[in-house]
């Protein structure tokens, strides 16, 4: 088995998911004996490739071209298509980043293949690589198998503990794809951030986070009371911020902040993966939700299956008593 790991960088900095993907490749190597190679793509990625050569991959390709200075799906797909045809890996692994979501399905389609996207695990069964994916927002897990080679799969953020560099360095090889300006149809502008973050939730010790179970803006005082009695920061899942019930800067999840408080109260949050990646570093998780099958309970140390409009006020009363 030969595995090609696509590492991701932006502006010369690693996306930290890159080495989680390397760890997933390492697991396959351990289970069935696999050669691991890696690639990093950009205009000038020599230094990054050198850095990556300290990890498990036997060879790192520095895929470099001036037209790859800024990410475009056309440029990335063309460059990686050429690399894969030259290197002929049996499995191509990506981090399931926003960028990968933008081009990897297109790349796999070039090979007439499907991408096993957002995999939370890989294992070898009957000599075949199988990927575990979540269905129904994490309520069920499916194991999937891809037909033919190369196979393509992307690995969910946080599914693997990032690989660590070893003592020596492996080979770095430059790969220069043939690219023409006319191949790149879209024109990206400079990335930007909308607001300076006034609230730093990453430092909070206690967070009360609210999700769509709260149903109505007028019900927000129910959770505000809990935050107040606990001296906690108030946060929310994405739909609450989209509705403007809390400012965007209080959003926890892949498009918001990543937090790791001592205790995280998830109130009326079902636990879509986009939210879980932002809070799974919390030490203690308390979940209150009426749906017993909500994925948030997978993460919770303490779970209350019940109506938040009854449970939260009762909890506020009990905490007041406990603190008195």
């Amino acid at each position: 088995m030969s595995v090609l790991v696509i590492l991701e960088q932006r502006g010369g900095k690693w996306n930290r998911m890159s080495f989680e993907t390397m760890a997933a490749a390492g697991k396959i190597a351990k289970e069935m004996g696999a050669e691991i190679e890696a690639a990093v793509v950009g205009a000038d990625v020599q230094a990054l490739a050198e850095d990556a050569s300290r990890y498990e991959a036997q060879k790192v390709y520095a895929v470099a071209h001036p037209l790859l200075a800024e990410y475009t799906p056309d440029g990335m797909t063309a460059a990686l298509e050429q690399l894969i045809r030259a290197v002929r890996p049996q499995l191509v692994l990506f981090p399931h980043s926003y960028q990968v979501r933008d081009y990897a399905p297109k790349l796999a389609t070039r090979f007439g293949k499907a991408l096993a996207s957002d995999a939370i695990d890989v294992r070898v069964a009957d000599g075949q690589v199988r990927f575990t994916r979540q269905l129904f927002q994490g309520k069920l897990n499916a194991e999937v198998q891809a037909a033919g080679e190369p196979q393509f799969a992307s690995v969910q953020a946080g599914a693997f503990r990032a690989a660590q560099p070893g003592a020596g360095a492996h080979t770095v090889e430059t790969f220069t794809p043939n690219l023409e300006p006319s191949q790149i149809r879209s024109q990206p502008e400079e990335p930007f951030r909308e607001t300076q973050r006034a609230v730093d939730l990453s430092a909070a010790e206690t967070i009360v986070s609210v999700g769509r179970g709260i149903k109505d803006k007028d019900s927000m005082p129910v959770v505000e009371a809990l935050a107040e009695v606990l001296g906690a920061e108030l946060a929310a899942s994405r739909p609450i911020c989209d509705n403007g019930w809390l400012p965007m800067e209080r959003q926890v999840g892949s498009s918001g902040q990543t937090v790791s408080p001592k205790v995280y109260f998830a109130v009326g949050i079902s636990g879509a993966i986009q939210h879980l990646v932002g809070m799974k570093g919390s030490k203690t998780v308390v979940a209150i939700n009426k749906d017993e099958s909500a994925p948030i309970f997978e993460m919770a140390d303490y779970g209350v299956v019940g109506d938040l409009f009854e449970v939260v006020p009762a909890l506020v009363e009990e905490i007041k008593k406990a603190k008195a």
């Binding site: 980043s97 499907a114 269905l135 999937v144 990335p191 509705n243 498009s255 749906d291 009990e318």
Partner: protein
Amino acid sequence: MAVGAYWKKKRMKTIVCVKQVPARDSTVRLSSDKKWLDETDVTFEMNEPDAYALEEALQLRDKAGGEVVVLSVGPPRVTSTIREALAKGADRAIHIDSGSEPPLDASGTAQLIAAALKTESPELVLTGLQSDDAGYGQTGVILAEYLGFCHATIVMEVSIGEGSVRVKRELEDGWFQHVTMPLPAVLTIQSGIKKLRYATLMGIKKAKTKEVRTIPASDLKIERNGGLTITSVNAPQRNKQTQLFTGPARDVAKQLVEKLKFEARVI
């Protein structure tokens, strides 16, 4: 405005791909073959990100004119979701009827849609960034590749120019980026970017007279190889030992505070 005049003459056609999925709060049970869920007693609804794609398409049409065509792949039950889209204001619909076949992966679905769109030549194809059931998050991107269109994913804003579109994309960690690309294009829309409209009584009445073209999936004759096969489906194992409390609110609150104070020691 120049752009308005351009589109008045051109009559922009937008296809919106919507999927019908189990309602978010459904309890999911495994099917007897353990390859999918048991659909008995499941209520279905429009995939939420697709509802935002539809809203964006309707708002673009309300500004620039033209036509919005809603497209859905699935068994006959998806006609209820198609009717909902028509009631909200889509002009006509295409239903690719997959009969009693099991659901396809994203590449199979995209192949069917691409085949059905051969005779449509739209300027824009919008869809949600991912589905709530299988969650591949790929159909739009693969469809663009099959159609030879440009694409952008996780789109927050759309502004149409003459023969081009400029979008605001969401990147990770609170970053955004504007990208301009030539039309035709496929855009996958992020949830929550606009307020969703409700169907009016008038809209529901009008929907009954709107055209729904049904194409049996087997008529599209796509070739399937290199797809993904689900070998098994299981309930996830808990990573943590979760202590669950149920019962009257006052009792569970008492038990929980006890645990938080003496076991987790966080109060």
